[in-house]
């Protein structure tokens, strides 16, 4: 039938699958700490800059607040972050790492390298990764900018 419809010709399917499988690669490293991958991403954001409003965290991860809010509540329940209303702007909810949340960075030091190594292969090497980064960044930039088709 139409060649366009062949699964093997779909970029999106590859992205979708690669994303899921890499996500699974994190599981054995994060689950001992009762962490999920999106929660780990939130930690990455907060480790870079502590005490941020929900909106900033969501934007950084290209997510909506309705995804991040319940996620942050679970992280609060785990004792990793605190959430309190902003003083200047009472609409904002400021998210701050607890000592436990900060300390987790030590326990997870080898996560990036471990996952990084498990992804390296024939065509994905330290030399080619920058190319892959550029292509993915371009796709993200293109799709994040506009909701429509231009």
């Amino acid at each position: 039938m139409d060649e366009m419809f062949r699964l093997d010709n779909q970029l999106c399917f590859r992205l979708y699958t690669a994303s899921r499988l890499v996500n699974q690669a994190y599981w054995p490293l994060l689950s001992p700490h009762h962490l999920t991958y999106p929660q780990y991403l939130v930690l990455l954001v907060l480790w870079e800059k502590d005490t941020q409003p929900v909106n900033d965290i969501a934007k950084r991860l290209y997510l909506e607040t309705n995804t991040v809010t319940p996620l942050l509540k679970r992280m609060e329940a785990l004792g990793l972050v605190t959430r309190k209303r902003g003083k200047e702007d009472a609409r904002q909810t400021l998210v701050t790492l607890t000592e436990k949340g900060k300390g987790l960075q030590q326990a997870l030091t080898d996560v990036p390298l471990t996952v990084g190594k498990s992804v390296l292969c024939e065509s994905v090497t330290p030399e080619t990764v920058p190319d892959l980064f550029r292509m993915l960044d371009d796709i993200i930039g293109r799709l994040a900018s506009h909701p429509d088709t231009p």
Copy 2:
């Protein structure tokens, strides 16, 4: 802090984000037909080869049956497929396209090209797409083969 932890150095985060954003690009094209993206993938699989057991569909999409089963039930409710037990092997559930499910291919002819175009950009062109495909395929092949780290 540790450079390894910077969000901008994470391949996984790029894959995760690109996958989600491309997925969103499908939404306006699929939602008029009450289709989700994973359901569209199932259609792609069945359009290539009709009447397959759940397991074959799941394997083709690198998914588990516990993800695919409820998805297929929803597609059955939409009148896109039928599910019936195999005659030779009564453990299998054979999934077959209905006329409506087959006919949907006509209604969606321009989906692959439309999404394809919306992804093209500076560094992702008809010339570079094969490179991107190869890298993603290698990552998928590497992660799909083993559950561990070798």
